[in-house]
């Protein structure tokens, strides 16, 4: 494995730079040039004090250093400003910014998404949330928990960092496992250069480090490293030996103890016997060192993925006609498709929110799994919006992914064609598309498919169930045009077994073989239409049956009984085929229990 650590030493300030670079962002009162040219300080509130977290070069020149009190920093900068005002009346004052953790998270997510183009193993490191502030969004809370869990292992159950100083090990970063991407991107140098160039283009200052473990890469990212993929583990350990112990990803208490021991470099630390270190620093620190040196083999586990897509567009002017939302809809769907591609997900349902200042309306759209077919989602959205009656003017439009699943690539049977030259897999997909449209147009209950049950009574045998919008194996089997003869446990096959009682073609049913033979393999005709519930028939005084005309019995009887063990559901019927005056054939029965006649089917 080969790890690339990207450390962002000025991230709290860089995010403001990047935010300024967005043309559409008019909320900030300063420009990117001002952030560079004027003294700029990012302050962070900690307990009851507000400290300087980062300062740009201009501020540093004014002796404003990270860690000092903000009041002190302001006094220093004001003094400088007064001096400059004498020389240049147009010079404006220093820029003091409050650290925006939410903004940092937003840009870290963007960086993680960007790095995902190079490797699936992307891990955020030292995320700002670890420093104690909470965000309301569910996903961020989850991430905070995950990060805290990871930290606990490394830090010997010492409480989290109590100070948020300029210490290098608290700088946020991203760690990537890139050994699998080297061939694709023509070597480590190219990967590294591409990533760093893109980040710098986006105003993110970055230090990079290469290591044989993620801990080593992170430590080495403190310093300019010239190591390449061809170096051995020994080279990496040797290169770390001259690095200060302050570069370790540990608690301040550990640094103090190391200083007391007179250990200042990692080389000196590595030379101490393991047992001695274990006694002084505990097993968790020992485990961290083992990981750092690569003595403990770590499983390559993808970080816990938190999938959330929620994007909002503020419209330029209020809209009540939903057709005017088409552009915003397209834009949001495009962003969703990018998200799905990056996360390797497929969308199964989204929620649109059309909102104004006081009101909002939500529209939920369920669909078959979509990964790249944005046109379908657009069409479904249009279907819903066309039938929407809005009582207010829409100011903003929001799209949220509510149902999703891991991407399921269809790569089986891709070359198999049926006798008509159609690909069953593609036909099944087409059916899912059609079903999605029908569900959205007509409702979920609109489409039904037959489910034959192992029953004798026709209405119980012939049950119809709502077609499921999600593809399943049963549907794909059916769509292939093959009868699944092996699945004898399924309701279908059981049902057809019961049909075989009548067909006489297949004698391998549960019924006694001799009995079937004695039936002379008679096939009882069955109607194509079944009426449910059966229509009660009335007879006249001449004992003649009527249904839309006089009925003449042609054939029968066929006795069908069911549920004889349950008196409440027991049915005993004699079925006949009868003909109407207009030559239509119908299927009628005499209920022997009720002594009544019913029409149950129509031959056609």
């Amino acid at each position: 494995m080969l790890w690339l650590a990207l450390r962002f030493p000025r991230f709290a300030l860089d995010v403001f730079h990047r935010e300024c670079s967005f043309e559409e962002n008019h909320t900030l009162e300063f420009s990117a040039e001002q952030l560079n040219q004027q003294a700029t300080v990012v302050a962070h509130k900690e307990l009851n004090r507000t400290k300087v977290l980062y300062a740009n070069d201009v501020a540093l020149a004014h002796k404003v250093y990270p860690g000092i009190n903000l009041v002190t920093a302001q006094a220093l900068l004001e003094a400088e400003k007064t001096e400059h005002e004498d020389n240049n009346a147009n010079n404006s004052g220093p820029i003091i910014l409050e650290r925006d953790i939410r903004l940092e998270w937003k840009h870290l997510q963007w960086i993680a998404d960007f790095c995902y183009d190079y490797t699936p193993y992307v891990k955020l490191h030292n995320t700002p949330l670890f420093n104690g502030r909470e965000l309301n969004e569910h996903s961020l809370e989850q991430t905070q928990q995950t990060q805290s869990d990871q930290k606990q292992i490394h830090q010997n159950i010492i409480p989290p960092h109590s100070s948020c100083s300029e210490q290098s090990h608290l700088q946020p970063g991203v760690i990537l496992e890139i050994s699998g991407s080297l061939k694709l991107f023509s070597g480590l140098k190219n990967v590294q250069e591409k990533i760093i160039a893109e980040l710098r283009k986006n105003h993110i200052n970055v230090n990079a480090g290469i290591g044989h473990t993620q801990e080593a890469a992170w430590v080495l990212s403190n310093y300019h490293s010239t190591l390449t993929e061809s170096h051995t583990v020994a080279d990496y350990i040797h290169s770390m030996s001259s690095i200060s112990t302050q570069a370790l990803d540990c608690h301040q208490e550990i640094f103090k103890r190391l200083n007391k021991m007179g250990v200042s470099t990692l080389g000196e630390l590595f030379s101490i016997p393991t047992a001695e270190l274990g006694k002084r620093f505990g097993k968790y620190f020992l485990h961290y060192l083992q990981c750092l040196k690569g003595n403990t083999r770590q499983a390559l586990v993808r970080p816990k993925e938190i999938h959330q897509f929620k994007k909002k567009i503020d419209l330029d002017f209020p809209v009540q006609n939903t057709q005017l939302l088409e552009h915003a809809v397209s834009l949001l769907i495009y962003q969703l498709l990018i998200f799905l591609k990056k996360e390797q997900l497929q969308c199964e349902g989204v929620e649109w929110t059309l909102g104004s200042v006081n009101e909002h309306k939500k529209v939920v759209i369920l669909c078959q799994p979509i990964h790249f077919d944005g046109e379908l989602l657009k069409e479904l959205t249009k279907l819903h919006f066309d039938h929407l009656s809005l009582s207010f003017e829409v100011n903003h439009l929001e799209l949220k992914l509510i149902h999703f699943s891991s991407l399921n690539h269809i790569n089986d049977e891709i070359f198999s064609l049926d006798q008509s030259g159609l690909n069953p897999v593609l036909v099944a997909r087409q059916w899912q598309l059609l079903l999605t449209k029908l569900h959205n147009r007509l409702g979920k209950q609109s489409t039904q498919e037959l489910s034959l049950q192992p029953e004798h009574l026709p209405e119980l045998l012939n049950t119809w169930q709502v077609s499921d919008i999600r593809p399943n194996k049963k549907q794909s089997n059916l769509s292939s045009g093959k009868k699944n003869t092996k699945t004898s446990n399924t309701s279908h096959s059981l049902a057809f077994q019961s049909l075989d009682l009548f067909s006489g073609d297949n004698h391998s049913t549960a019924i006694n073989q001799d009995t079937i033979n004695s039936c002379e393999n008679v096939t009882a005709p069955k109607p194509a239409w079944l009426l449910h519930p059966p229509v009660s028939l009335k007879a006249n005084n001449d004992q003649e049956l009527f249904w839309q005309g006089k009925l003449t019995i042609l054939l029968g009887p066929e006795r069908i009984q069911g549920h004889w063990w349950d008196q409440s559901r027991h049915h005993n019927r004699d079925y006949f085929i009868a003909e109407q005056d207009d030559c239509r054939k119908v299927w009628i029965y005499h209920d022997r229990g009720q002594d009544q006649w019913f029409l149950h089917g129509v031959f056609s």
Binding site: A428, W431, S446, Q448, L450, S479, T515, Q543, D582, S604
Partner: protein, 266 residues
């Protein structure tokens, strides 16, 4: 005159614009039809002979009028549907008059698992859904019943265009009263059950100059059975089988019963 003749397109080198127009399937050229149009056999030789191309046209709307539901729609289509149900795809029934009975379809050779029933009560939405069904590549056949809807010419025209964009056998069943009303469907039939069989009247098809008619024979059943209503029939019937779940009695065998299965019902 010679100059005028020179400006006319030569018969040996046809005008490409004209050729493009003539290549369209919806251009009616009198009795000459596009022989390349795809058809599927109806399963009845007598009917195939009447139909242009010797079968049901694929991707064209077929308008079938009936005096009432149940006048031989399955008997008319079962050989074709049995053939289609062997392929990948689905047979879609839109607003059928009743629910199909699986064993009955199976007897006619149709795989009931390929049947999907779609219901709608709103005409405007129903038309859009029907267009989707006709255009879908997974549709083997779309059978639509007008029932309480009243499809206007423009709506039927929309269905016809949608059918041409698809690849399905597209049939709409309508009431008898619409038989004399104009329809954009290239093929129009009237079917009615008679004592001698299913009578089919070909009202309209491309290239047809006069109405044609044929009768598809129905398998004869036995002579009428006299049943005393109120009699429990125990004296007339005999239980011959039991599998512990229910009891099945044999039918009184019709004289030509064995012919019925292939011919699509009774």
């Amino acid at each position: 005159m010679d100059k005028l003749l020179e400006t006319l397109p030569s018969t040996k080198t046809p005008n490409p614009v004209l050729a493009d127009v003539l290549s369209r399937k919806d251009v009616w050229r009198g009795q000459r039809l596009d022989t390349a149009a795809r058809v599927i056999s109806s399963g009845y030789p007598v009917l195939d002979q009447m139909l242009q191309g010797q079968g049901w046209p694929i991707a064209e709307l077929i308008d079938v009028t009936q005096p009432a539901n149940g006048h031989g729609e399955w008997h008319l289509l079962s050989p074709t549907l049995a053939n289609l149900s062997q392929k990948s795809g689905y047979i879609l029934l839109f607003n059928p008059p009743a629910m199909p009975y699986g064993p009955g379809l199976e007897q006619q050779g149709i795989d009931p698992r390929k049947i999907r029933v779609i219901k709608s009560t709103q005409q405007d939405v129903a038309l859009s859904a029907l267009v989707d069904m006709l255009q879908a590549q997974c549709s083997l056949a779309v059978l639509a019943w007008e029932n309480n809807f009243h499809w206007r010419y423009a709506q039927l025209r929309k269905l016809q265009i949608a059918a041409t964009h698809g690849d399905a056998l597209s049939i709409c069943f309508r009431k008898n009263t619409t038989a004399r009303v104009q329809s954009p469907a290239p093929l129009r039939l009237h079917t009615q059950l008679k004592a001698k069989g299913l009578e089919i009247e070909l009202l309209k098809q491309r290239g047809q100059t006069h109405q044609q008619q044929c009768t598809l024979a129905l398998p004869r059943l036995s002579a009428p059975v006299h049943v005393e209503l109120g009699n429990n029939l125990d004296s007339n019937t005999q239980v011959v089988g039991s599998n512990g779940l229910g009891k099945v009695l044999p039918f009184q065998r019709a004289s030509t019963q064995s012919e019925s299965t292939r011919q699509g019902g009774i």
